[in-house]
């Protein structure tokens, strides 16, 4: 099986079909990141398309010794950021409300079941979703890339075009918002 670098070279030489190999190799990981950042399947699919399109158009800029997957990851993060910025209003409208409907008057910060079931409860997931909706796009992106994708501070900074200090601050602010929402359930101070 050809390495990504070899396939990139073929595509640069005019073999468009070679790009199909890269798409098939990286589609699912790109979707995974896009979905974690947008938390919307349709938006994630649009990000997948836009990410590969941008990668294809910028193939000349890809450095042969770099890791294609990481480079593609950075493009995906930026595409997701662009989408989040432009569709912020739609994202807020589509966020699932806690317990089914905010109009029903359920307190999103009501006491939760026992802490030992904390990590697995659907209620926690809803609280996390609510907390992420309160994050800025920068905070959300930095948190997703660190917490779910395991990227380093340096890699996140390059992807989001932030310096190290700003990256750390974004992650910390995101985590602080999570703690405020999860605190009653977790039995910790907010």
């Amino acid at each position: 099986m050809d390495e990504d670098d070899d396939v990139v070279a073929r595509v640069r030489a005019g073999d468009q079909e070679g790009f199909r190999i890269l798409v098939e190799r990286h589609s699912r990981s790109v979707f995974r990141l896009a979905y974690r950042m947008t938390r919307n399947e349709l938006d994630a699919e649009d990000v997948v398309q836009e990410s590969f399109l941008r990668a294809y158009r910028r193939l000349e800029q890809f450095e042969a010794r770099a890791n294609f997957g990481s480079w593609l990851y950075r493009i995906t993060a930026n595409c997701a950021l662009d989408l989040l910025r432009s569709r912020r209003r739609r994202e807020r409208d589509e966020q699932p409300s806690l317990g089914g409907a905010e109009g029903e008057g359920k307190d999103p910060l009501a006491p939760d079941p026992a802490p030992d079931r904390l990590a697995m409860s659907a209620e926690v997931r809803r609280r996390v979703t609510a907390a992420m909706a309160r994050m800025s796009t920068k905070e959300r992106s930095a948190f997703v890339l660190r917490h779910f994708e395991g990227m380093s501070i340096a890699e996140i900074g390059r992807a989001l075009q932030l310096d190290e200090g700003a990256t750390k601050q974004s992650i910390f602010r995101a985590v602080r918002k999570l703690r405020v929402v999860l605190a009653p359930a977790a039995g910790v101070q907010p």
């Binding site: 098939e24 349709l42 399109l53 660190r146 992650i171 039995g187 910790v188």
Partner: protein, 254 residues
């Protein structure tokens, strides 16, 4: 860790093993109960945030991504001439002439089993308009089947796949002709249509409800059925504009 005790930010970064003075913080937590409690509070919070279940993607997901993407690719490193739909979709005389040339080039190259009488220009143009109108109508029917499918049930689109596959080649020909004629709006519309047809033709026979719903939304978001109606009206209008006495002559020529 600037002071004696690590800050909250330090503790969060320590959780992720990203703290600059990780070893020092670790040593401190081992000896300071207050800071250890503070760290554990952050730890409980972060460990509660588990990964969201991802939407399931079928075994043909990669192929579907490629089918949707491929028509949008140009030469590597160059921007694809992606004209947005924003210009009136009008079949200009120049485009009609170019389409006619492309259409008849395809016809004359194909072997004819029975030699027929030569056709007049007006007859050829009428047949071309009929062909384009027929192509749009067949495309419309395929898209209607998709749009009208129940989004909550699996969708078997094997017959639509077959129809879409036959329409792709014609769509490509008409699109390329429109591009050469400088009809950016029409070419853009045909490009959008071709992309949807390719996605249907190259996709699986069965779509899960989420996959079907996503395809339906794409068709609807692009306003494909509306655009087909606009172009179809133009094509039909081109036929109806022909005076009756000329219609009779065309019929006689055929």
């Amino acid at each position: 860790m600037t002071g004696l005790h690590p800050s909250d930010e330090d503790l969060v970064l320590h959780f992720y093993e990203e703290a600059r003075e990780g070893a020092a913080i670790g040593d401190h937590l081992a000896s300071c109960a207050d800071c250890r409690r503070r760290f554990e509070a952050w730890q409980v919070t972060l460990e509660a945030v588990v990964d969201e279940p991802l939407p399931e993607k079928g075994p043909h997901y990669e192929a579907a991504v490629w089918a949707r993407l491929q028509p949008r690719l140009g030469r590597p490193g160059r921007a694809h001439p992606w004209a947005r739909f924003g210009r009136p979709l009008i079949l200009s005389g120049a485009l009609a002439a170019a389409l006619a040339a492309a259409f008849w080039a395809g016809r004359t190259l194909a072997p004819r089993s029975v030699p027929g009488p030569p056709l007049t220009a007006s007859a050829r143009e009428r047949i071309l308009l009929l062909a384009v109108g027929d192509h749009l109508e067949r495309s419309r029917l395929v898209l209607l089947d998709v749009v009208n499918a129940d989004p909550h049930a699996p969708f078997n689109l094997s017959s639509q796949r077959s129809a879409a596959g036959q329409l792709v080649a014609a769509s490509r020909l008409y699109r390329q002709t429109a591009q050469r004629a400088g009809e950016v709006g029409v070419a853009s519309f045909l490009e959008d249509l071709e992309r949807i047809l390719v996605e249907i033709a190259d996709g699986p026979d069965r779509l899960s409800p989420p996959e079907a719903g996503a395809l339906q939304q794409r068709i609807e978001r692009q306003g494909m059925l509306f655009k087909i109606r606009v172009i179809g009206t133009q094509v039909e209008g081109g036929e109806r504009l022909r005076p009756d006495h000329q219609r009779g002559r065309v019929d006689a020529d055929l």
